[in-house]
Symmetry: C2
Subunit: 311 residues, 2 copies
């Protein structure tokens, strides 16, 4: 391997926004001797070859992982078990398997049983993405300055963890280690619940009568528009996230329901002081987000700072 | 009056983000012979003189409106009644009064009783803003390509409506006429409910234990961050919006609660097809928003198109 090369042969299973971005980042930086992509639809396979983001593209997971020293699962999390089953017999004896899913306990449950001892499983989650899907939506610097959380189960080979961490650092990400269960809880509130709520409010608007719906779209700049962007995220990916992080999502949703009931009651009974004090508290959280460098000047891709979109 | 001048003396009552942006737009384009601002806090009065966005700044609404042919109410909507009472005796006999509030039935209820026949009240609502507040947050092109909805009650003098419409068009806005009750219902779903929900989810996160809260902020790029921006909007302004559009907000919140219960149940019972079909429906609403020119390429200030912020 050359100095910059981290792996000889990388198999990327599922090549949508995240998988194709990872392939592009690896290409940009010469991290892999060879990149093999596995995609189910013939159309996407043709697109990937056209875009030139993999050295070869395959329909079967087993064909793809043949001789690979790194396998990256990038399909919706609900597909992991059948992919693991399909590729198991073709995996190299000391392969490192990782993934990019937004839920980590489920992937450990679904994939680990198919890996022999000697193989290494390092679950991972780059906190990056957009509402756009498909191989053409990816770009090499998607992970720049983003966090990537690894959740290796206790006893995972440290050298394997370090190799996966090195890969993400070379993609520009800030790597953190975390317990899988804790990850799922934190992401339930920072990502899964926000998406569920955005889907819901856009659904509420979609259920209005036709004439009102047209006006909602027309006047969406008042706040609704931001939710439509989040609610345009990939339906299958998010279906699988909610079904596979059920307990944590339902717990956070229960807390949210209690909090919205309190606000509902305050509006009904005209309790202005309570409303105002809650709204002050939330302003402070925003300040913390900005101070942590997760918004504003830190990141040119931060949505909408100074954008003048509310009223 | 010169050719570009629309009013001799304009009184702007309340000079935060919207009021100061309107003053700047009027100055930029020579729309007013004189701009007088009314602000309660001494600090903001000093700031306005320092910024030079008004010809004079006053503490009392009555002093401010003296001899004005246009009065624009730009304070939080809960303050309108006491402002109307305070300025009533000083209003010129044929003055045009307008406002910029996000709720229209309440301002008609609160202000109309204080206006003599001969005076004209043209309620208005520019659908523009940001999470930033105060006179220093304003900018002259805030209203460019934004909708401004006017809700004149039946019988309002047409010439007065046209003069207010002309003002907003000169500010760059697209003016629409609407019934006040209908406005309040449409804005309840496009703006008020999104803000209420954003405040709630950020409140839910704020109520987590200290250690978890720090992680929520750290990993906020997964979707939560977008909500913190909306939930950083001015607490007093939004308290007043919710209290003054109570019925429409509670009705939309009820619909939202029904829709989120359906999703909650689908997650609990693993109904993936239902989740996926709802998420497909919401993607279509996003497409409509983009097609209507309310997102994406149309508006450079559109938050977060292509920003890569979710996961």
């Amino acid at each position: 391997m050359s100095e910059t090369q981290l792996f000889d042969r990388v198999a990327i299973i599922g090549c949508g926004l995240i998988g194709s971005s990872l392939a592009r980042a690896m290409q940009r930086d010469g991290m892999a001797g060879e990149i093999r992509a596995c995609v189910r639809s013939a159309e996407s396979r043709a697109k990937i070859m056209e875009l030139g983001i993999a050295d070869s593209v395959h329909e079967s997971p087993a064909d793809t992982v043949e001789g690979a020293d790194l396998v990256v699962l990038c399909a919706p999390v609900g597909a992991n078990e059948s992919i693991a089953q399909a590729m198991a017999s073709a995996l190299a004896p000391e392969v490192i398997v990782t993934d990019v899913g937004s839920v980590k306990q489920a992937v450990i449950r679904d994939v680990s049983p198919f890996l022999d001892s000697g193989m290494h499983f390092v679950p991972g989650h780059p906190i990056a993405g957009s509402e756009h899907s498909g191989p053409e939506a990816g770009f090499a610097d998607l992970f720049d300055n983003r966090y990537c959380i690894l959740t290796p189960p206790p006893g995972t080979d440290e050298a394997a963890v370090e190799r996966v961490a090195a890969l993400w650092r070379r993609c520009g990400a800030r790597v953190e280690l975390m317990d899988a269960k804790h990850h799922d809880k934190v992401l339930a509130i920072t990502s899964h619940l926000p998406h569920l709520i955005a889907y819901t409010i856009v659904d509420t608007a979609a259920n209005l009568e036709e004439s009102e719906r047209a006006e909602v779209i027309r006047y969406s700049a008042g706040g609704f528009r931001d939710f439509t962007r989040i609610a345009a995220s990939d339906p299958v990916m998010w279906r699988d996230v909610f079904l596979n992080n059920r307990d944590a999502v339902l717990e956070m949703l229960q807390r949210f329901n209690e909090d919205i009931s309190q606000l509902q009651r305050a509006i009904r009974w005209g309790e202005g002081d309570l409303l105002q004090s809650i709204f002050h508290k939330t302003c402070e959280i925003r300040r913390s987000v900005i101070e942590m460098g997760q918004a504003g000047t830190f990141d040119p891709r931060e949505p909408g700072s100074q954008d003048g979109s509310q009223s």
